[in-house]
Symmetry: C2
Subunit: 457 residues, 2 copies
C-alpha cells in the first residue's frame, strides 16, 4: 500500500498544464475529473492559476462544489476575483455553504458591496448564514476577523461519556479538533480539554473534574499581529476568542496565523525594498510600475535635492574638485548605515523587544556609528591620500564627514522608525528607500558643510 | 471560575523584574517559587533574560527540572549558552530527560563538542538516549534535524478498541496528538487516522478498514524550507517523516515550522538590509559592529571605485560641472531600482513561483525599466532645464543616462539573484547593499560614458 501514499513534492509542469488544457478543449469531462481527483485542491488551484479564465471556469463548473470551494480559497486573489465575477449568486452561495465560516466570510468580504447582500441571502443554512454575518462585523485585522465559528464546545456539567457522544456530532463539522473548549452555563470560557484527555479519561468522570482551567484566549478585538505573536510564543495550535464578557465566540487556528505571518514578512520585506503594494514577479508591468514608481519618484526628488545642495556649494566645486569624487562614497555609506539601523529597529519593534527608551538607544547608535565610522575613515584616509593624492585638509574633510555622516545616518535610521511607531504608524515603511533618500540628502549637506568649515571656501 | 483563565497579554515590566530580583536577594525561595508558578515557562524565560547570570542560575536551580527544561528552550541563545556552561553534566542530562527528542537534540547540538558525549552518556532513559543520538545524525537544515521521535503509531492489523487502549500509553508521552500514523508490519507508513476518526469509529472496526491511505509525508533528507512550504500550502499541522524505504522515523509539527519561517523571514530581511549575521537591537556594540561593518566596507570600496571612475573622466568635470550635481540622482535611482527588482526576484524564488526562464524575465524587466525610466526622465528633464539651467545637451545626457541606468539596474537586480540561485547560493544575499553597491559603480560609469558620447569631451 505504500505506493498509494502521496509524495509531497507536487510540481507544476508545462506538461501537466497542457494535459489539462487539451482535456478541456476536447470536452473529455469524465477523464478530466478523474485526472484532477488525484490532486490536492491546493495543487488544482495552482494549475487553474496557469489557465485562462474560460478554461478555469470550465474546470470549476465540472468539479463538485465541495472541492471547488477549497480551490477558490487557494487561487491567486486576482484570479479568484475574476472567477467570482463569472459565478452566479446561487453558485457563490453554494460554494460558501461548503466553506468554514472564516473562509466564507473572507470570500464575501472580497465581493463588490452590491453583491454581498445578495449572496448572503442566498445561503441556505440559516445557522451558517447568521455566523457568517456575525464574522463580517469584525475588522479584518482583528481576532474576530480571523476566527472561525467552528469549534467543539462542552459544558462543565457534562460527563465524559455524554461529552464523547455529543462531540461526535459537533466534531463532524470541525475539520480539525485541537482542543475541546469548556464553558459554563453562561457560555463563558472556563477551560479546555484535549481530545487526548477525553480519550484517556474514564467514562463516568465529570468534565468539571477533569478540565484544565488554565486556558489562553484572545479578545475578539485584539490585533491579529498580537494574536500571531502569542500563538507563536506559547506554541499554540489554536486559541479561543472571547468577547469582553469572556463569552466564547470562536477560535483561531495556527494555519491562519501562518498565513498572516507570511503576509506580514513579505510586506515588510517589500516595504524595505521600496515596493509600495503587494506584487509578485508574474504581475503585469502596469501593476509592477504602480508598486515601484512611487518610491523611485521620492528617490528622484531626493536626488534633485542633493543637486541643489551641491549647486549651493559651487565655490567648493571650483576650488576642490576632488571632493566631488567622494560624493558617491558619502552617499552610499549614509544609505547603507541608515538601512541597517532602521532594519534592526523595525524588527525589534515587530518582535516587541524594543521598549520606549529612545535616548539610551540613540546613545548606543551614536557609539556604534563612531566605531564603524572610525574604522571606515581610517581605511579611506589611506586610500584617498595615496590613491587620489588628496591634500591633508581634503583627506581630513572626507574622514570627518564620513564619521559624521555614519553617526547621523545611524541616528536617523533609529529615530524615525521609533517615532513612527509611537505615532501609531507602521514602522516598516521607514526602511529602504525612505531612509536611503533622507540620508542621501542630509549626508551630502553635512559633507559640504564640513568641507566649508575645514577648507573654508 | 472565569477569573482563573489567563489573559494572554503578559507584559514584561521593570516592576516584575525588580520583584523577582528582590526575592532572589532575600533568599525567599518559597515565595519566589509560588510567584513564578503563575507564569508560563515562556514568560519566565523572558524574565530570566533580563536578569544577570547569577540570578538566572538561582531561579533555575530553584525550579523543578520539568519547568526549567522548557524555560531553557525559550531563553535567548546567548543566555542559554551561559546557563548551560554553569550546569553540571548530570544537571543538563536531567533537563534533557524532560524534553522531547527534537528539543533535546537541539540543546546537545549547542554544547561544545567535548561535553556532548558526556551529557549523552549521562541520560538515564536508554530509549530517549538512542533516539536523541539518532536525531543528532541528521543535518540541522533537513527534515531529520527538525523532527521529533515522539508520535502515536498504530499497526493496520489492530482494532479500534485495541488501538484506543494502546495509544493511551503512547499518547501520554506525546504533548499533542495531531494524527495517529498507521504502519504495516515492516514499519512502513501506509496511512493516517485522526483522533477524531478514532473517537467517531466503532470499537470492533479494524484499523485497516478505517484508515485514510492518502497521507502526506516528507523524506528525512528533505530541506526544512521545502517542508515549511508544503506544510503551509496544505495547511498541515504535523507531517510524518520517512526514510528512503518509507519507514516511519518521526514527525514534524507546525510550531517548529513557524519558528523556521520566522527565522528565515528575519534573516532575509536582515540580509536585504546589509546585516550579515543574526543580531538584535539589544546585542552588544561589538556584536552589532561585526554584523554591520562587512557590508559597510563593501559599500566603501564601491564608493572608492566610483571615485576612481569620476577621476578618470576629469575632463568632464572641468567642462561640464553641472553633470556632477546629478551624480546623487543617478546613484540613488540605480540603487533603488536594483533593490526593488532583486527583492521581487528573491521573494519569487523563496515562494517557488519563478521558473527558469531568465530571458523572458529580463525582457520584462527591460520593459519595466523603460516605462519607469521614461516617467522619471521626463520629470527630471523639466526640473533640470528650468531649475538648474542645464543646456539642451546636458539635459539630454542626464535623461538618457537615467533611462539607461534604470534599465541596467533592473537587469542586474533581476539577473544576479537568479544566477546565484542556479549556482545553489542563497539569493537573499544578493539584495540590499550588494545590489546597491554594484549598481552605484556601474551607474556612475554609464553616466559618464553617455556624457562622453553625447557631449564628446
Amino acid at each position: 500500500m505504500a505506493e498509494e501514499t502521496e509524495n509531497i513534492q507536487f510540481e507544476l509542469t508545462d506538461d501537466l498544464v497542457n494535459q489539462v488544457e487539451s482535456l478541456i478543449r476536447l470536452n473529455r469531462d469524465k477523464e478530466l475529473k478523474n485526472f484532477l481527483d488525484d490532486f490536492h485542491y491546493a495543487d488544482i488551484a495552482e494549475i487553474l492559476d496557469e489557465l485562462d479564465l474560460e478554461e478555469a471556469m470550465y474546470v470549476i463548473k465540472l468539479l463538485d462544489s465541495e472541492t471547488t470551494a477549497d480551490i477558490l480559497m487557494e487561487l491567486d486573489e486576482d484570479n479568484r476575483e475574476k472567477v467570482l465575477r463569472n459565478l452566479s449568486t446561487k453558485e457563490i452561495a453554494d460554494e460558501i455553504g461548503e466553506l468554514d465560516t472564516d473562509d466564507a466570510a473572507d470570500i464575501i468580504a472580497e465581493l463588490p458591496e452590491e453583491r454581498r447582500q445578495e449572496v448572503i441571502s442566498a445561503i441556505e443554512d440559516e445557522e451558517h448564514k447568521a455566523e457568517i454575518k456575525e464574522l463580517l462585523k469584525y475588522d479584518e485585522d482583528s481576532a474576530g476577523g480571523l476566527m472561525a465559528k467552528e469549534l467543539v464546545k462542552v459544558y462543565d456539567t457534562w460527563t465524559v461519556a455524554g461529552c464523547l457522544r455529543r462531540i461526535r456530532g459537533q466534531a463532524k463539522e470541525v475539520t480539525r479538533v485541537h482542543s475541546v473548549y469548556v464553558v459554563d452555563k453562561q457560555e463563558k470560557l472556563v477551560g479546555r480539554l484535549s481530545l487526548k484527555d477525553l480519550v484517556v479519561a474514564k467514562n463516568e468522570q465529570k468534565i468539571a473534574d477533569i478540565y484544565i482551567s488554565s486556558v489562553d484566549w484572545v479578545n475578539v478585538h485584539d490585533d491579529v499581529e498580537d494574536v500571531a505573536r502569542v500563538m507563536q510564543k506559547y506554541d499554540l495550535e489554536a486559541i479561543p476568542v472571547v468577547d469582553n464578557d469572556q463569552k466564547l465566540l470562536g477560535r483561531i487556528t495556527i494555519d491562519d496565523i501562518v498565513d498572516v505571518m507570511k503576509e506580514e514578512a513579505e510586506r515588510d520585506y517589500q516595504l524595505a525594498a521600496g515596493i509600495s503594494q503587494d506584487v509578485e514577479a508574474d504581475d503585469s508591468i502596469w501593476k509592477l510600475t504602480r508598486a515601484r514608481l512611487p518610491w523611485l519618484l521620492i528617490g528622484m526628488f531626493g536626488g534633485i535635492g542633493a543637486a541643489s545642495i551641491i549647486s549651493g556649494f559651487s565655490d567648493a566645486m571650483d576650488k576642490y574638485p576632488v571632493l566631488l569624487m567622494f560624493i558617491p562614497l558619502i552617499q552610499a555609506t549614509a544609505g547603507n548605515v541608515g538601512v541597517q539601523s532602521s532594519a534592526i529597529v523595525v524588527q525589534g519593534l515587530a518582535n516587541d523587544t524594543i521598549d520606549g527608551k529612545i535616548l539610551s538607544r540613540l546613545l548606543k547608535e551614536f557609539a556604534l556609528g563612531l566605531v564603524n565610522g572610525l574604522a571606515i575613515a581610517a581605511i579611506v584616509l589611506l586610500i584617498s591620500h595615496f590613491g587620489f593624492n588628496t591634500s591633508y585638509f581634503e583627506s581630513l574633510t572626507i574622514c570627518v564627514a564620513l564619521i559624521s555622516v555614519i553617526i547621523m545616518a545611524a541616528l536617523i535610521g533609529t529615530f524615525i522608525p521609533i517615532f513612527l511607531d509611537k505615532r501609531g504608524i507602521d514602522a516598516a515603511v521607514a526602511t529602504g528607500p525612505f531612509i536611503t533618500t533622507s540620508n542621501d540628502v542630509f549626508g551630502i549637506f553635512i559633507y559640504f558643510l564640513i568641507a566649508k568649515l575645514i577648507l573654508g571656501f
